[in-house]
Amino acid sequence: MDDNQIIALFLAQDEKAIQAAQRQYGAYCFAIANGILNDPGAAEECVNDAWLKCWQSIPPQRPRSLKDYAGRIVRNLALSVRRADAAQKRGGGQVALALDELSEVVSGGDTPEGALDRQAFRAALDGFLAGLPERDRKLFLRRYWYLDGTQELAKRFRMSRTNVTTTLHRLRVKLRAHLEQEGFEV
């Protein structure tokens, strides 16, 4: 069953949609969640919650790609769980490391409610990514979207860990400069 057929099942509110989505993208979503949580049980829960979110949001949403849509949902869910865990002094892992790294980009100050234009910020991020060489763009997203560890990145991109670390640092510096140039007070 392809992406459009599964989306059609969601739109028709057919319960087979969730089974089909799980069969097609369950492993992908689980990998994202487990990468963030490093806890298979919690990751499984996140994936199930993600299908529920999909069920609730489609319709009215009509995603272009169910894989991307579900992936983003499961990532956000996993991050929420991660943040809740961090509040309870549990966990750590790649999320904590990624957050530490991203502290270089942001000031850490509170953003007034409604002060951030999420659409504009997303456009700025897209602009930043568009300006990167393909390899750097993928490296950045594997680190801060998929939350891969540096060792995994080194293997995937056939780079040394040192090279991965220095490249990511360079990208963070570049991101901060780009966001400031776009007028964001990060």
Binding site: S65, T111, R122, D126, L129
Partner: protein, 306 residues
Amino acid sequence: MKNYELLELIGDVNEDYVRAADSTVIRPKFRWKTLAACAACAALVLGAYPVYRAVNPPLHSYTVLEGGGMTTLDDVKAPAGGESAPNAIPGGAYVSSDKGKPDIDGNEYAAPGQDIPVDEAAADQYDRLLRGMGMHGEGAASYPDWFAGAWIDQSQLTVAIVDGLRTPELEAEITGWCGDGVVFRDAKYSHAYLDGLMEQAVALLDGTELNCGVGVDVTANCLGVDLYSDGQAIPDSILAKLAKLDPAGDAIRVRALTDKLSSLPEDEIKGFAVQPVPGGVSPAEDLPQTKESSQPARDDLPPLDK
């Protein structure tokens, strides 16, 4: 902005980028320029090596015997391997002078074997060995492939057999010819091979201005080449040719005697004459006033000190 806010916002980026980042492993670009440069360097090295070798051929190692000059009076030479030693016989062994003939100091021998004490029994064994190999007498057939030499050492006949060809059957056969008490030793090169090498060495040294002594040294299992430099440096071309003849570097032993070639009156050379020993070996340490120093095989050997 908080770091976790940024992390969440990164989750909203363009889906196409996210999907692309989930694609297969990124492979580094194939660096044609690097490869081409490496290939060019390799070709240069590989191509240059034969040229370098042609210009700078490897030289044979040699031992310098300082002060080891050569006299030119008849029969009083210091051959490398003893081939020209009086009474040397096939196989490299030495049999003493006949009774009544003058020794090197002009005194007559009272009995055979007086100059060098040779055990008659061992000499007889040696004779039987040669007969067994079908080698007795001048102009006999060539040595068998297994035969690397024979000599008498402390009244015992020692027979050297080429590595890999020494078998109990062969030892039994030799013992059958010679009787008990024969000592067997392993050797790398056959006598026939060293003979062939000697012919080649003589051919390449022939026509050079160097005075040479060439002979098979059976105890050392090599061809001895003595080069009398007459105070001059041994030409690299000679050493290069010898190195070509002996790529392994152990089949030819080169000695360079750097002293002036001299023609001495007979009474002055008494005591200089090298006493041949069984096997035809003329040990360098027997030469008066000689001092040895070794020269390893080198590609860029500097000229000898004059």
